[in-house]
């Protein structure tokens, strides 16, 4: 792993996470993921690949699903960051409700990312086609193989959102 090392000193960054303003001290290239987890104690967002290939670290930034493991904290300022902890109060988001009704998670580790990606998808397109769901969930991996239920839960949440 020999390579270029950035010796930049620490900086202070103001982040708006789940509606709250935080000031954190971190290296500018620290991924947002680790700032959320280690500085802010928001451990619902998960580390798994570190190279934006699995989606476990997905958060929403200004409503878009973003892989927080490759986003430097310095790029996350001046934006609205939402993590799984801030998606709703008491599992009340339609996607979370559908996830519970369909009993989607097994180990559960990837599902913060799955839910944040699905919620972002339905926010933009409340009634997606199967193909749009497939595309929207690309790169969000689950090793337990809960995909059949992820699909059912997204359809269910979509039906609820479209109705309301």
């Amino acid at each position: 792993m020999n390579g270029f090392v950035n010796y930049n000193t620490m900086g202070f960054y103001k982040l708006t996470v789940n509606g709250q303003l935080h000031s954190v001290e971190a290296d500018p290239d620290t991924p947002l993921l680790w700032v959320l987890r280690d500085n802010l104690g928001l451990t619902g967002t998960k580390f798994s690949c570190g190279i934006a290939q699995c989606g476990a670290c997905t958060v929403q930034i200004n409503g878009d699903p973003v892989r927080s493991c490759v986003m430097p904290v310095s790029s996350a300022i001046n934006s609205k960051i939402v993590t799984i902890e801030g998606l709703s109060i008491a599992n009340s988001h339609p996607v979370q409700k559908a996830w519970i009704e369909e009993q989607v998670p097994q180990c559960g580790y990837c599902h913060s990312g799955q839910i944040m990606a699905a919620a972002a998808l339905l926010e933009k397109n409340a009634n997606p086609s199967d193909e749009e769901i497939h595309n929207g969930m690309r790169g969000v991996l689950c090793r337990c193989g809960t995909y059949p239920r992820v699909m059912k839960a997204i359809r269910k949440a979509s039906a609820k959102i479209s109705k309301s």
Partner: protein
């Protein structure tokens, strides 16, 4: 539904002990499946945790403990369900707690081989029934009646003739004075009202809002993070290292040489300890290490295959034999022969390996996700020469395990780092560490020969397994690993049959992987049975049924899967179906894969699973596990493999070790046989037949026989 907690809250028990009476029932484990039920209500003293299975407070609040680490397999819900069934409490009105790691009070807590339910079903029933009987005795006394006049239901004991009712909470004081029976009356299975019902899992709401705590989520005061550079060559040794540049990275505190034990082999490494994970990773990038990598630098998977093909000519060890294979095969006019290759596989659970350990002079504490909490205690006790009672194991939910988290290597390394640093140290493996280091599922070569007689029946079959043996790496176990022939259907009525193997040693570290040898052997075996059926001109499902006509459970799942998959309805010209069967961890599975040719491409379209796992605890979990097995089986069939190039693993992360994704996931329909047989394991059973059912389906559609995994779906 009540909320649940991730880790046992010790204060709860202590407060209850002060505030008044409670009923606490547990067991003393006696071997793998036996136990003695004990009343723990009076044993609460400072420093002595109750560690019960059943806890009922005077307010009637019922807490049931799950003592099996949860990695997605669903025992968090299933173990308490079994207790609740006999205890007669509303399963949706209890609280579930994860038990501490305590082998004296919970027995074996290692979650491997889909054992949780089959080894604990009777114990858990006894537990619930014994506690119920204590409450009934206490109630009968109050009713001035005989126990036989009382009935327990939904947390109340009713005096049947008078209709008087007393809640469990009111009875705990009296009940806590009683001795539990070790042979309480168990319910007749026809009376089950919890077992066999799909009960929502109480851990799921914790996993949809970020609340669930996994090993990687734990932090303690004063801890350091470690990122560890290990040789990409399996036996690399550190000649020297320079950490000056790494130490300049802000936050980096220490650089240590370290090592971890992998199946008796010491794997050297250099670790960077820092006050944040990111600083540790940056420091690691700045490390300069001189490795001695020996001759392993030139290793390739190809060389292992060459060795295996050579070994396939050897006599090998005979595991099972009937009739006279060689003689019959020699004389047969209609014989076939084939080799099947299955590769190394990574476990790649979504939660990367991690562990936190604090080693001090008089105490060691562990926090993390593990399949084997008590194994960690014994390992650390031996490593540091400390009494096991001074070692505290805090285990959490696991972000997947699949066998990888049953090993001690991760803990071994970080414990060494904590001892060197004198503070709690948490190691987090990168995904590249995980995929590059293994240990892996063994790759294997299977050589099969067989013949068909004039009547079109199988007359002989020889199945030879060539692979590494998990328990015989670097002189570990002496006898072959049990289960090394798993996945071979020895029940087929083939008059001349031989099952044998050649076990080879290689430096690639291997370990248990979901369904272990079943996943490799079953592919070869069930593919070859298909080849024999084709050679015999028989329908492959009927061909199997004939050979299993005296085996009720195999026949039953085969018939069920035939019905549910429309097996006997001729598919259209762009559809192919294949079947495969297995017995794994006591459960019988028949699986039909359906593939379609869509716009010239082969698409795995629908998988129909028929499973007989005996008595079903939570049917939805059986369905979920079977779905997961199919998806993981497909990843191993045509998405990914671990290969060795120039002495190192060629795959690094999910960009090269690809997993199945949502868009390519087929339909999975699971059908469960109603059964009163003893409950068996469901976490692995549907995985082994997934690949052969798929490739058999591809053969039926295209005539192309796939004998090497992983195959490229777009090249079929």
């Amino acid at each position: 539904m009540k909320t649940t907690t991730n880790l046992p809250r010790r204060d709860f028990i202590k407060l209850s002990a002060i505030s008044g009476a409670f009923l606490a029932v547990g067991f003393v484990p006696l071997g793998e499946k036996e136990s003695k039920i004990v009343n723990l209500s009076k044993t609460a003293t400072p420093g002595n945790e109750l560690n019960p299975f059943v806890f009922i407070g005077t307010d009637g609040k019922v807490v049931l403990y799950n003592h099996r680490p949860e990695m997605g397999q669903g025992t968090f819900q299933a173990i308490p369900m079994i207790i609740a069934e006999e205890l007669e409490v509303d399963i949706n009105d209890i609280e579930i707690r994860q038990s501490p790691a305590d082998e004296h009070k919970y027995g074996d807590q290692m979650v491997v081989g889909s054992r949780s339910i089959r080894n604990n079903f009777n114990n858990m029933r006894k537990m619930g029934a014994a506690a119920r009987e204590m409450l009934m005795q206490a109630a009968a006394k109050r009713f001035h009646s005989d126990v036989s006049e009382c009935e327990a239901k939904n947390g109340y004991i009713t005096h049947v003739s008078s209709g008087r009712k007393i809640s469990y909470g009111v009875l705990v004081r009296d009940a806590s004075e009683l001795e539990p029976s070790n042979s309480p009356a168990l319910k007749d299975p026809s009376q089950f009202s919890v077992i066999g019902k799909s009960v929502p899992r109480m851990d799921i709401p914790l996993k949809t809002n970020g609340e669930a705590k996994f090993g990687i989520d734990h932090q303690v005061e004063g801890m350091l993070y470690a990122s560890v550079e290990r040789s990409p060559f399996f036996a690399g040794r550190v000649i020297d290292y320079f950490g000056e540049k790494a130490l300049q990275v802000p936050g980096v505190k220490y650089i240590f040489k370290t090592s971890r034990d992998v199946w008796g082999k010491k794997r050297e490494a250099v670790a960077v300890l820092a006050n944040s994970y990111w600083a540790a990773v940056k420091g690691r990038k700045a490390l300069e290490i001189m490795w001695h990598n020996g001759d392993l630098k030139n290793w390739t998977t190809e060389e292992i295959w060459i060795d295996y093909y050579k070994a396939s000519k050897e006599e090998g060890t005979t595991f099972e034999e009937k009739g006279d294979f060689e003689n019959i095969f020699d004389k047969s006019a209609n014989k076939i022969e084939a080799y099947y290759e299955t590769p190394y596989q990574a476990h790649a659970p979504m939660e990367p390996m991690n562990a936190m350990v604090s080693v001090t002079e008089d105490k060691i504490e562990f926090w993390g996700s593990t399949q084997n909490p008590n194994g960690i205690r014994s390992h650390l006790a031996e490593k540091f020469g400390m009494h096991p009672d001074k070692i505290i194991i805090n285990y959490t939910f696991m972000g997947g395990g699949f066998g990888r988290r049953s090993l001690m290597d991760v803990v071994d390394e970080v414990a060494d780092l904590s001892a060197q640093a004198g503070v709690p140290v948490k190691v987090i493996w990168t995904r590249e560490d995980d995929i590059g280091q293994g240990p892996f599922r063994a790759c294997s070569l299977n050589h099969l020969r067989g013949s068909i007689n004039a009547e079109g029946n199988a007359e002989c079959l020889d199945h030879k397994i060539i692979c590494q043996d998990i328990r015989n790496q670097s002189g570990y176990g002496k006898s072959p690993s049990s289960g090394i022939t798993g996945g071979v259907i020895t029940e087929y009525e083939i008059p001349n049959f031989r099952l044998n193997g050649v076990l080879r040693k290689h430096h690639i570290p291997i370990t248990y992987w979901r369904s272990v040898y079943h996943s490799t052997n079953c592919f070869a075996h069930e593919s070859f049975i298909d080849e024999m059926a084709h050679e015999a001109g028989k329908d492959p499902l009927d061909f199997r049924l004939v050979m299993l006509k005296n085996h009720y459970r195999y026949s039953q799942v085969l018939k069920l899967v035939a019905e549910k998959s429309d097996w006997y309805k001729t598919p259209d010209e762009n559809t192919g179906r294949g079947v495969a069967i297995v017995e794994r961890s006591g459960s019988f599975v028949a699986l039909v894969a359906e593939v379609k040719r869509i716009e010239g491409k082969i698409v795995p379209y629908k998988f129909t699973v028929a499973i007989d796992c005996g008595i079903v605890i939570n049917p939805d979990t059986v369905v979920a596990q079977s779905e997961g097995c199919v998806v993981m089986g497909l990843t191993a069939a045509y998405k990914s493999a671990i290969t060795i190039e120039e002495g190192r693993v060629a795959q690094t992360n999910f960009d090269k070790f690809k997993l199945m994704e949502l868009y390519e996931t087929p339909q999975v329909n699971v059908h469960i046989v109603q059964s009163n047989e003893a409950p068996e394991g469901v976490g692995e059973a549907a995985l082994p037949p997934t690949a052969p059912a798929l490739t058999n389906a591809i053969f039926s559609l295209t005539g192309k026989r796939i004998r090497r995994l992983p195959f490229k779906l777009d090249e079929v």
